[in-house]
């Protein structure tokens, strides 16, 4: 029998993505970048549509749409007259920093105040891949059930904002919204929590104001077209 020997490696598998994310952050220095996360059907794209309807007069927003195969979301966003680029992951369950880096040259970054990156619908792995964003925000629709923060804590831990969507349906479900908020706070005491209904538009203004408060002052003045 041949000898067995051990090769010590200690190679951090996150390094490549982290280096690229840092480069993206540098490229996007003047732009406020929000990585928008959530399950399929939570209302990420609808929230984004509501947000664009409210914000396009007040800030210059660009959008990257992550999707496994289709351009359906990018088509919806294009109606708002904002620059939008689709990334198809071709089966991959999350965006990574190099996918984002590849499409950044398609934006006129000097003319952007904010870039929203809508990630692939998934509560698991997008939480763990830094894209070079300033903040992560997770959309959770209350119809998904109030156990989700406890079952997928990482995404709630890593998000600066949690948008609870479909509040208009609260009366039709057994979801306890205050318990849901309590669970989110136990995982992430510093999270900003927004209660919205993207169907009626309720609460979206508060979320939009908060986004605007995050804009980087060094960029172009948002109100001048």
């Amino acid at each position: 029998m041949s000898d067995v020997k051990e090769i010590k490696v200690m190679s951090n598998l996150r390094t490549a993505n982290e280096i690229q994310a840092r480069d993206n952050r540098h490229t996007l220095e003047q732009v406020f970048v929000c990585n928008l996360l959530g399950s399929p059907g939570a209302g990420k794209t609808t929230l984004l549509e509501r947000t664009l309807a409210e914000l396009t007069a007040r800030a210059k927003v660009g959008v990257i749409e992550g999707d496994i195969y289709t351009t359906k979301d990018a088509d919806r966003i294009a109606h708002y007259g904002v620059p939008v680029v689709q990334i198809n992951t071709g089966g991959g369950c999350h965006l990574d920093a190099s996918m984002v880096a590849a499409v950044l040259p398609r934006f006129d970054l000097a003319r952007l105040d904010m870039l929203v990156i809508e990630n692939v619908g998934n509560l698991v792995c997008p939480a763990d891949f830094d894209l070079g964003e300033d903040i992560k925000a997770v959309v959770l629709s209350i119809t998904e059930g109030d156990d989700k923060p406890v079952k997928y804590p990482l995404i709630f831990r890593n998000s600066k904002a949690v948008v609870l969507n479909k509040l208009d349906l609260a009366g039709f479900t057994d979801v306890n919204v205050s318990k849901l908020e309590q669970d989110i706070r136990a995982i992430n005491p510093e999270a900003e929590i927004f209660q919205v209904s993207c169907r009626t538009g309720d609460g979206v203004d508060r979320w939009c104001d908060w986004l605007l408060s995050n804009l980087k002052q060094t960029g172009t003045a948002p109100n001048i077209n």
Binding site: S2, D3, V4, K5, E6, I7, K8, V9, M10, S11, N12, L13, R14, A16, G91, G92, C93, H94, V124, C125, A127, D128, V150, Y152, P153, L154, R157, R185, A186, I187, N188, P189, E190
Partner: protein, 114 residues
Amino acid sequence: MHEMSLMSGVFEAIDAALEAYQVPRVTKVKLQVGRLTNAEPDALDFAFQAFAAGTPMEGAVLEIELVPLAGCCKECAREFEIEGLVFYCPECKSPSIHIVRGRELVLESLEVEA
């Protein structure tokens, strides 16, 4: 699906590590996987077998060390294991916690036939 993409990174790291050696067969691959990575050991093993087929890693044992989640209190500097994903300091009850362990994804070592 998540584990497949993680494992593709593991195999890139293995290839890079073996570049300097002539290795006919790898017998063991050791990984450190933090609890907070959301990676399931069974799914990692399944992905490992799929990637290993037809390579020097075929038949190798995948050894996973699950790294528990640990935090350090920003107020009182106490370090502790975070259980049940409740992010409060057991000492001073502060919710301001810095995660110090549990996010690892490290290719630790390889055992190879020399």
